[in-house]
Symmetry: C2
Subunit: 360 residues, 2 copies
DNA sequence: ATAGTCCTTTGCAGCGCTGCAATCGGAACT
DNA sequence: AGTTCCGATTGCAGCGCTGCAAAGGACTAT
């Protein structure tokens, strides 16, 4: 008389043993059938399957987990769920994982370093997932190295692999350079950047700033350091606030490279709110290609990372890591990106996104 | 020699038994300490805790799950993760669940009836969660009744409880009525509605249509049936397309009640794209109060459901259901909502959302 | 007819924990 | 000193499944 207490009166859940009894075989054989293991005669299989159907048997995943020491779950850790970029990424990750037989747990950390650190550390929740895909915000590069070494890990975004985990992302410097070069190509000369984060956890931002400088250099333009505006996050509100500060200057910029589409959206909000025009007065380019950007007014030029590619690659690598009992050398994986020019820089309706517009 | 195979050479994970041995107590006592159970002497507790720290013990959740028959997880099922409304809702549900000791699994179904049906059915994944919060889209009212009766269930959105699960939502008819009454109050008389779904799974939409009619009736206005436009989903693209059709008419509307903020966003996109003004030519009101609406140009008037309230209530009820071994009678729970008038109806900057604008 | 081979099926033990009920030991009481 | 009582601690058995290795059975080769 032990183990879990069943709801009073409720029927006991059917077990492997019950099926075995009805089918007249051993429990182990039922297990073999259920898992498609080994060689099982067609006749035996049929018998067992009939019994399974008759009893409405479903394997107890909890018991299987304990016996195998695997949970069949992976966890995806993002800073914010309601940030469209992460939502869109998750949207892609879930089916990719499901296809490989994994369930997806989701965690949001609010970019909190401690919370993120706990997750990659050796906490008790570790048993709940076989591997982790994390998009760190609060964790600096070095924090990533202090972690449960047995945790198969794939990192998204702008960290570098320290050789013990894989890193999947786009080439941020190249992408940022393209974005700013595009602004230069349309004739802008006083270009601002919104989103810099010149501190250890701001590596993502710093790579974009690097691209910002590279594009200037390539065009032989000087960088006005005072036009590089830092923000704590990549939100609309940050973009709106920073843009206001820029417009308050005696010499406002004629173009802005925003480190996310949300920042761009906030910036545009401020510009239009002051009666100025985008892109005539200030051209704007964002980053991430979230859906909003295709519908905002004006539509937002942006850098489009291959999100499905990121999701697929991240899941594939992670599952590979989980499968191989051994430690696997960490790799840097680059996924393609594209510059999408929309109204906020070209001023033209249509263009590359024409197909998106349902206008008759 | 059985059970799970450990990574070659890797140390075996510490178990309760190891701790017990080092502390010189029985495993059961260690368990008691870990779980804060029963009475344990301070001395014993201290001894055990020291041993736990020394060995770096962490309880094996998988084993606990099997022994207790509970997974400590709840699953939240939404149609689309990248729909801001659901993302924002999840953002609120996760911490609420975490606070009560539950992990959150997330599933998206693309509104697919079969997929949703599988989830509430008695599949094998059932063991992975103790309860479910679902926002059904593909499932009609009657489908909800065909389900694993042992699954504690809370339904969000616009279904009615059949008495075996709880339902949490706002009063959609009242909210819709308010929205349309607001349009009438600002002087509009030819009001369209975008988003109707006159078929079994479209209950959400139908309630809004009901409110649309109610507001007209209350104001003594006739309803022009041809101004009620159906859409398959509540997306930007649906809003944009429907709006285009409305504007193509000889007698276009002077206001539109959109069944979601995304629909509103799409509609506005179309209107502005044609050189018309919002709200001067067409006033727009949406539904859901997603963040985008506070930053779009113009900002979007909307119905604001108390999302945190929904999340909290849903989790509380679910956990209560899980806790009580008995079946609990299902309840209808209404959460407050608010009409938020923004520029897309008032034409005025600021207003109720002024605080959101960081303009100096 | 006997030994050898190969493939299917089985038994055992245990994954690490918890529910239950019994036990133990000291304090309080007679 | 003996008994009762009560709280702290323990032992047992088992949750339902799988890894491993051995047993069993049919068939072929000698």
């Amino acid at each position: 008389m032990a183990g879990n207490k069943l709801r009073e009166g409720a029927l006991r859940e059917t077990t492997l043993r019950d099926v075995a009894e009805l089918a007249g075989v051993s429990p182990r054989t039922v297990s073999n059938v259920v898992n498609g293991y080994a060689k099982v005669t067609d006749a035996t299989r049929a018998k067992v399957e009939r019994a399974i159907a008759e009893l409405g048997y479903r394997p107890n995943v909890l018991a299987r987990n304990l016996a195998t020491g695997r949970s069949g779950q992976i966890v995806v850790v993002v800073p914010y769920l309601d940030t469209p970029y992460f939502a869109e990424l998750l949207q892609a990750i879930i089916p990719a994982a499901r296809k490989l037989g994994y369930n997806v747990l989701i965690d949001q950390t609010d970019g909190d370093r401690e919370h993120e650190g706990e997750l990659i550390g050796r906490g008790s929740r570790r048993f709940l997932f076989d591997g982790m895909i994390i998009s760190p915000l609060g964790l600096a590069q070095e924090d990533l190295s202090v972690r449960d070494p047995d945790l198969p890990l794939v990192v998204l975004g702008e960290r570098r692999s320290d050789g013990t985990f894989d890193h999947v992302g786009i080439d941020d410097v190249a992408a940022s350079t393209e974005a700013v070069s595009h602004l230069i190509a349309i004739g802008r000369r006083r270009i601002a950047a919104i989103g810099d984060q010149p501190y250890p956890t701001g590596e993502a931002a710093q790579l974009r700033t690097k691209g910002f400088r590279a594009a200037h250099e390539a065009a032989g333009l000087p960088v006005d350091e005072s036009l590089i505006i830092g923000t704590a996050r990549f939100n609309r509100i940050d973009g709106a606030t920073a843009m206001a500060a820029l417009l308050d200057r005696a010499d406002p910029p004629d173009a802005v490279f925003c480190y996310s589409d949300l920042v761009a959206s906030g910036a545009i909000h401020t510009i239009l709110g002051r009666g100025l025009r985008v892109p005539e007065d200030v051209a704007i380019i964002g980053y991430d290609d979230i859906e909003d950007g295709r519908y905002s007014q004006p539509t937002i030029s942006t850098i489009q990372p291959d999100k499905k590619g990121i999701a697929q690659l991240a899941v594939d690598r992670l599952v590979m890591r989980i499968g191989s009992g051994q430690p696997v050398a960490g790799v840097e994986l680059k996924v393609p990106h594209k510059l999408i020019a929309r109204e906020s820089t070209t001023g033209q309706k249509g263009g590359p996104t024409a197909g998106v517009h349902p206008l008759p």
